[in-house]
Symmetry: C2
Subunit: 294 residues, 2 copies
């Protein structure tokens, strides 16, 4: 990993982890529900979405204390989506990041409820941001709801379930990824722009950046599912192949998928060139996502 990015992550990841826990420890609710939420919040995520949001903010201004609350909201929604996706009725996964999934520890009912509570807490967190004016809070909430709901992430998961066992076209596969993975990356980047004070032309470019980054992310995931090391991945590899899922390597060959990875990474980086952002950090993120081992 590039050293500038590494030091950025070193500085901010611990702060995100800590703030996330604080936001849940103060909740007054039945103890098993709180435990179930904290279990998945603390399950060792890489915090890529919050870090990306911070990187987008820092492309426009210095990061301040209150930014951490905003970036925690996107991690809450990401975490809820993993809990619900892992349920037996959905992807039926027993392990995630090398740990038992939420429903294996707390049971299915509490996995459903803790996901519901995390999603709701994310909106509460955005509505409570200090040092953000009401207009920008509403902009964030509108963008967030669109990106995480039926027209975004949930719609992508629905399309993914519908597509299982079918031969999908590249277009159908990209619809799924733009929604299932891309929508929340889009929120992270666009919200960072809004919080950072980016002009509206820049916001449009940030949307293009995040869309391309989302594809880089997913293509790399598919490649790692073929090539990755189970220990580094923390989960069984070859899972998508075994489930007969449509993937980029399956549609384009492994070599073709790798070419497409580079292609989208290049568009992502060049999309920032016309903006007023100090974009080195975001460009480093593209390289990191493209080259990661898990």
């Amino acid at each position: 990993m590039n050293s500038e990015l590494k030091s950025f992550i070193d500085v901010h990841k611990g702060e995100i982890d800590q703030r996330l826990v604080q936001l849940f420890e103060t909740i007054e609710c039945p103890s098993k529900l709180k435990e179930a939420m904290l279990y998945s919040i603390n399950a060792g995520g890489k915090r890529i979405r919050p870090l990306l949001m911070l990187a987008a903010i820092q492309s426009y201004r210095n990061i301040n204390e209150t930014d951490y609350d905003a970036v925690c909201a996107v991690e809450m929604v990401h975490t809820y989506s993993l809990i619900h996706d892992d349920l037996p009725a959905m992807d039926d996964d027993d392990y995630r990041r090398g740990k038992l999934t939420n429903h294996k520890v707390y049971g299915e009912a509490f996995a459903v409820l803790s996901g519901d509570a995390l999603l709701t807490k994310a909106f509460e967190t955005l509505s409570n941001l200090s040092n953000v004016n009401d207009l920008n809070k509403i902009k964030l909430i509108q963008e967030f709801a669109k990106d995480s709901g039926a027209e975004g992430m949930v719609g992508g998961q629905a399309a993914d379930l519908e597509g299982e066992g079918k031969d999908l076209s590249l277009e159908e596969l990209e619809y799924i990824h733009h929604h299932k993975t891309g929508a929340l990356l889009n929120f992270s980047i666009v919200a960072g722009g809004i919080l950072g004070g980016a002009p509206s032309d820049d916001i449009q470019q940030l949307r293009i950046f995040s869309q391309e980054l989302g594809l880089v992310f997913q293509i790399k995931d598919d490649i790692l599912d073929v090539e990755g090391n189970e220990v580094e991945m923390g989960k069984a590899t070859g899972a998508d192949q075994n489930k007969n899922k449509s993937t980029y390597p399956r549609l384009l060959t492994l070599e073709g998928a790798k070419e497409k990875l580079v292609y989208h990474a290049d568009i992502a980086k060049s999309s920032l060139q016309t903006t007023s952002a100090s974009s080195t950090l975001l460009e480093n993120f593209v390289d990191y996502v493209m080259k990661r081992l898990n």
Copy 2:
């Protein structure tokens, strides 16, 4: 039912039903997800929460067209909570209001996802309200998130699951109901006050009103579970008794529960007397909830 209340419901219920469908028909998402959401939205609810919110608004000013969007948000969250509560891992119900439950028609995965999407759409709807200023939108979203999340409705459902098969005290039973049922009624009434322009002293009284109304609602539910007619209820009666659930009739005897019903109805009505609200309609609602047959 009182004739003033009947004509209020006749005028507004159809508008609510229609607006709810409009809000979902325009969503662009996989068709099965949209169908699953609309199935439960159209499953014949009495729309008590939206009607209560409209009644609270009308206690302060005339209802206008844009109020319908706000009241639809609370029905979306109520609907999502029913879909998730009916899941096999939760209450495991096959029928609701005389129709098959969501997961019996669309499968568990889509029941989880359509609930998630409904919850998200509720926040989107509040953030998009026209004719409401940003400050009031944020107030509504803060209240809504608190009342529907871990510290409200979801927390109540968690406590309810934890309490199953246990002998609960009256205090524990009231915790469950204040959260599981009461929190969303609280939002309906308080949001109506905010939208209607109620002064802050009135908002405090409206909170007391809604808390007492929530108890009336729940005690009546428990009584109907013992005395109700299966055809009128649209679901099996005696279900709580069979599951060995703690209920008011079980804790207080049927006669004691009926006395408690009247007691809380009286406090609810008197709580409005010090407000500037034209409160007849809300008082009629209390009588309706207390006397309903299903």
